[in-house]
Symmetry: C2
Subunit: 533 residues, 2 copies
Amino acid sequence: MGSIPGVSLFLLGVTLSLLPSPVQGGKILVFPVDGSHWVNMNLLIQSLHAKGHEVTVVRTATSWYVKEEAPHYSSITVTLPEAVCIEEQDFYVAFLVKILEIKKQGASLMAFIKFYWEMIGSLSKIHQQASLLGVEIFENKTLMSKIRDSNFDLVLMDPGLPVGVIVAHKLKLPVVFNIRWITSGEGHFVVAPSPTSYVPTSGNAISDKMTFFERVKNTFHYFLNTCIDKFIVCPPYDRMVEKYLGPDVNFYQLLQGVDLWLMRVDFVFEFPRPTMPNIVYIGGFQCKPAEALPSELEEFVESSGEHGFILMSLGTLVNGLPIEITSEIAAAFAQLPQKVVWRHAGERPNNVGNNTLLVKWMPQNDLLGHPKIKAFVAHGGANGIYESMYHGVPIIGIPLLFDQFENILRMEVRGAAKMVDVTKVTQQNFLKVLQEVLNNPSYRNNMKHLSALHRDRPMHPLDAAVYWIEFVMRHKGAAHLRTESYKMPWYVYHSVDVISFLLVILFMLTACVVAVIRFTWLRMCRRRKPKQE
Amino acid sequence: MGSIPGVSLFLLGVTLSLLPSPVQGGKILVFPVDGSHWVNMNLLIQSLHAKGHEVTVVRTATSWYVKEEAPHYSSITVTLPEAVCIEEQDFYVAFLVKILEIKKQGASLMAFIKFYWEMIGSLSKIHQQASLLGVEIFENKTLMSKIRDSNFDLVLMDPGLPVGVIVAHKLKLPVVFNIRWITSGEGHFVVAPSPTSYVPTSGNAISDKMTFFERVKNTFHYFLNTCIDKFIVCPPYDRMVEKYLGPDVNFYQLLQGVDLWLMRVDFVFEFPRPTMPNIVYIGGFQCKPAEALPSELEEFVESSGEHGFILMSLGTLVNGLPIEITSEIAAAFAQLPQKVVWRHAGERPNNVGNNTLLVKWMPQNDLLGHPKIKAFVAHGGANGIYESMYHGVPIIGIPLLFDQFENILRMEVRGAAKMVDVTKVTQQNFLKVLQEVLNNPSYRNNMKHLSALHRDRPMHPLDAAVYWIEFVMRHKGAAHLRTESYKMPWYVYHSVDVISFLLVILFMLTACVVAVIRFTWLRMCRRRKPKQE
């Protein structure tokens, strides 16, 4: 066998040319999730398109971010019944307002129950709508045969919208996940064993060094997440699977049995935890060096002089905070010697300082990579954190929803961020936090250290993502990287039957030994008795 | 922050230059294991030397394969007391003869006990000697200060000789393992959770698809291996650790807490199983394209015509089989139309066919990569299997010792090899196996498929090994990739305390509820009674 053509990474004497010729013209069907998830998926699609693959994206007619037309993909648009449509942007803002109200009441059992009630209600709505997208596809015979006739090579999907695995199973296509977390539990719980003694459950802002009561809380959350998965998230999909794939197929096993997981995680950010051979870590795959700023913005940040400037953005999901909070933030900013660039929507506070520039949109990556930047005031979405980490900029975190609390915590534990409770923000305490992060060099140094570790990788994560997607297309799957675990019933997986069997054997052996001893003892006693008599 | 200089693997528009400048002139202290393990380690050392690092190898004066002088490393030679020295080659041959005798008696409880008795005896001797090497280093003050003054950056070691971690801890140096398995249990059992329901234990030739009784056997082997680790392997090192590092340090935690594991494993060969972020898989890192054969050998294999030729080698550990076995093998070979190249030592059978060439040494990789090769008769050492897989050559396996049975099984399960029981080899049954592998194309096709998967990697595993060793030197460790798991007592790790606590709470709640119900019931009864009266 000759060597396979390709490039070699290092110039070692013994190095081989290993890269196989690229897959040309693969056909990929994409099931994305809207909002910030789409930002990630879109980037990956652009790269796949640039490598010569043909990408088709499935979207709803009312989609928020996923456009019907784009130069790098074609789309399949599914129109859902109006009654079930969620107006996503309004939906999340309304959700945030409710959550903030509950949080303001302080920590109590009632608040906890209210919080979960709201969360479960929202999750239920989101997955009802998502499953209906699947139903529309399966019921629309014309669409289904169009998809079948397209002869796709692969389904690439965000399992936040898991109907993709059901369609893929029907079409017998390999599946690759582009994933940050899955349904209500994090991806790892579905594939790799994750002891609750040091792996924090999703939705639980604790570190991997837990006290006894944190471990109790973590175990409790694990059960809670499992129940939410089982009773809230899965049922609509379970019904779909039974109807369209038959009673022998299990929805959860479809999720667990996909070929490859591209996890948007890097262990410089995430706490280290068990993993699986078919998980490829692509955390920070969107990161790239800064480009020049638009001249107006460049002038503004350059005018900050030696003090530099601060960036503030709360991401794509929620574009506005209540005015009573933004007023406090604006007042704190006004007292800084730094300049501030604030991505702001909604009502403008009337106390914005001269040093503060409010913008509707900004080139976030280019600002984060600017030499004059001093800190990033962020909501803690994973994308923003990776960009900030890539550029070595310390974070003041104002987490609002979902994984944002956990994300900021991970940076805080490493001394590269400071968290602010949005329900308790005042001009004074916010200013104090800003000053601490700006004036104590440890935050910046720690973030620079994380940046050095994060950048030191043999292959850029975006290249890795494309490589492994093409790998799955080349070999029509990646079954050899998938463990047997997900095919087993829980009692087999956890060896409950084996341990019970061994205990029964042990019990029987003990019983036999005891019986023999007793029998011998009784015989000895009987022999002695006549003598005594 | 500017971009870091380096090379980019793919030519995507968005690709960044990520590779940091190479570490020049690192100083690496190596604790190798002799025999076939050294073949691997030596290759890695050559690459490290080629990248400009200074390597020092620790060896015993009586070392079998590790030479005192080499162009690519310097050495520290430790002379052990003559009484404890094992003459390794003779030692393993004697061990094999005993094991073969036991196996010939057939499967029985007595044979099992005898086998483990022999194995435990040998393991105990090997580790007694290995720990004495450590004692000699710690007791020799001149040597110890010479090592300390050398200012090493890293300890690279095969944990088969685990004194390296003890020396590294003393010198506060980061540690990288070059590992296939560790002590008596396989590496994974020490670091990643490995459910016995689908992860075969080391020393147990079963696949990842187990029947109930195979799972019972696997669980039993797991306990056996754990006991061997605890009571046979560790005690000499435990004593060393207590004497030289103090009572607060735990030897097993030193093993588990190393910075990085370079595992000589690829999941095309190994069954997929849970892994950890600080494990880098370098299976097949020694593989490379074939070079031209010496003219005499080339002439011989070319003369095989369309039938091609077969290769036979039993590796570096054992160079000879009993004559009654080799005679049967020679007779079977003589009946084939193929030519045979046989790496042979010891007594020459008198029935060697005209088609068979016996050689003392051969360029194995170049022969495996020759276009005329048809099959490889091998003992099943991991190195040979990876080379065979790399070149797509099906295997007839004659496993003799240690992991060789498991290795051949992994290829057999994938339809790329056929196993022969060495204690039952006859001319007839051996010929039958040879003919099946030669004439049924599925073996070759399956091996070609494995070869394609194995070669399809974004980076050559030898490059990956060097990259990650340099990574650990650049960042003085890789603590961010190491989980918290190994620092916990077993009952914390397995949440035994948390589960007990929750059960107690549940019990108390149930007791309260029962008490309230009982109290109410009694009161109701008491109220009713007077009425009835």
